[in-house]
Point group: C7
Chain length 77, copies 7
């Protein structure tokens, strides 16, 4: 993973499946569609997992940046 800044990491996972962990403990899995300078992000085919259990399927979702704990690239299937 050649990266010079954390921003480069994010660019590499745009359009790819990711796990977004929020500071309320829930995970949001789906396609990272885009994000802005405040770390606000839009996801597609979003699934909400709480304690590893699928709770909701939301489709298009806007997530506010200041609650994001981490964004992790899902391994390619």
């Amino acid at each position: 993973m050649s990266k010079k800044s954390p921003g480069d990491f994010i660019k590499q996972v745009l359009g790819r499946p990711v796990i977004v962990k929020l500071n309320n403990g829930a995970d949001y899995r789906g396609i990272l569609s885009c994000l802005d300078g405040y770390m606000n992000l839009a996801m597609e085919q979003t699934e909400e997992y709480i304690d590893g259990q699928l709770k909701h399927k939301y489709g298009d979702t806007f997530i506010r940046g200041n609650n994001v704990l981490y964004i992790s690239a899902q391994p390619k299937k």
Copy 2:
């Protein structure tokens, strides 16, 4: 969902039914009437759900942006 920025996602759901999750865990469902640059938003026909249970019907409601966790488009009925 063609979007270039998370803001575009929000524009696409203006006037449509959405679920707004706040960081106290409650969901607010209704019509997203408008929002501003601080993510403050006004909703119509608002319903408050706590742990999936309908608790209140509020009609017009102003929600302060810094408590918003995510905004998700409700699937069209």
Copy 3:
């Protein structure tokens, strides 16, 4: 409810009975007297509800904006 911005919503409910929910979970019901750009607000005939139970009647109350979760118009009696 014709609104162009969330601020317009607030102007429409000035002087009217509202419910103000704070992020500590309590509701404050009364007449929304005025508010400023930081969402600090002054209320009259304020009643404090905790878990739906009336706890205190305060009369004039100043509420600090950064604890406000939402402001909802009380249906006209």
Copy 4:
């Protein structure tokens, strides 16, 4: 209570007995001596109530603004 801004409310209660609720749930009752633009305030004859129980009598107390939930005028005895 004729007020044009929440700040006017505060001016009206300077020098009067108030209840100051902090976001840790405690109430501080006493004479509102003064406050500044950050909502930092100084109180005299301060009493600390926790769950409605008098815990301490402090006399002069400086309270930091960002923990203030609300300030309410105590009814005149």
Copy 5:
């Protein structure tokens, strides 16, 4: 206590025994040595009380301002 601003209150208690309550609930008692514009403060002969129990004697201590709930003048012995 003649004060015009909360800052005046603090100047009056510099060099005197104070109780500093932090938003984690602990009290720090000792001599208020100095403080800066961010409410960072240095104390001497500092004692840490948790739930009213003396836990530690620290001597010189630097306390970060944004955790300060209130500063109260200890009554002169």
Copy 6:
């Protein structure tokens, strides 16, 4: 460890195995790939530990700076 500023410490551990503790209590262990001025950081071969138990292996992960509690150099094996 000759350092003049905390930033120097971080430079010394770039590309090395580190433990990153977040304020939700979880540890993230892996190679510190890069970080920016907001303390946002990218890690490789990331492992998530909760209460000392390995929970997930994530590979490339972006962690938002404002949740970072500390970064500690892992002793070289």
Copy 7:
């Protein structure tokens, strides 16, 4: 302890053993190597104590300033 500002206190303890308490309740004990204007600090020979129990020995550690509750000089052995 002659100090004019809290910053002077910190300079006096640079290179000396300190206890750094974070707002998650843990203590970090070690040599205060350096710190910057945001209260980010680097420590050497760091030991993590939780509820007074030694949990980890970390060596060089970078601690983010906004989680620091207080810094206290350890009495010289």
